[in-house]
């Protein structure tokens, strides 16, 4: 089993191709791999429960983390996050990508 870490930095309302990342993460998960999506920079705008985004990731069992620094920069509070998305520090991203047999992809 390979571990995949997708790092999504783009605003879903600005970049339609964020949908491609979401679909790829689900497809990789369905093939039996461990998948994490780490939202950072404008990528965290999709983490708000009011957007209704990224539900397919939760349904597929993909771990979704949102960078705390990026959330604070954009005035997004913890209680605004969708229930399947967990607030996280950048050190969690480092821990994830420094594991062996892990592929890290930035978008």
């Amino acid at each position: 089993m390979t571990r995949y870490v997708f790092i999504e930095s783009r605003d879903p309302f600005e970049s339609r191709d964020t949908r491609f990342v979401e679909e790829t993460a689900v497809a990789v998960k369905e093939r039996g791999h461990h998948v994490t999506v780490f939202l950072v920079q404008n990528g965290v705008l999709a983490a708000r429960k009011s957007t209704g985004r990224l539900r397919s990731l939760a349904e597929a069992g993909v771990t979704v983390l949102a960078d705390d620094f990026s959330l604070r920069e954009r005035g997004i509070k913890s209680d605004e996050l969708a229930p399947h998305i967990r607030e996280s520090g950048i050190d969690a991203l480092v821990d994830a990508i420094v594991q062996k047999n892990t592929k890290a992809l930035w978008h």
């Binding site: 930095s9 920079q41 620094f69 950048i90 480092v94 420094v98 062996k100 592929k103």
Partner: protein
Amino acid sequence: MNERRLTLALMDPPYESANSTTALRIITAALEKGIDVNVFAYEGAVCLPLQDQAPHANPVKGTTVEEEQHPTTKAFVSSLLAMGQGKPLLTWVNCGLCVDERGAANVVAGVKRGSPADFFKMASDSTNTLVIPTR
């Protein structure tokens, strides 16, 4: 030899993209965890450690240089190189061709000059490699 080593390829020039801030945060967190870090700065990213950067006052607000405390990326890079002098080790390589194109040879102490061949070697010797491209 440290068993955990991370290589990052950076491409964004300073003061243009949040990518630079995130990259510097990742490097900081990795060093704090005792992880060796290689950085290959490509294209505009070779200007991140440019020695000629200078903090400035803000004439709109009427603040002085001291009051403004304007952060420069060269100061961040210097701080990281100070953190990563041994264990853990930070190796920062600027792409030589990118440097020459930009006239960006005057960099802070500790930054090396190299080529994409160095990036290949860094990636080959690392636990993982993260490429942070320009958009």
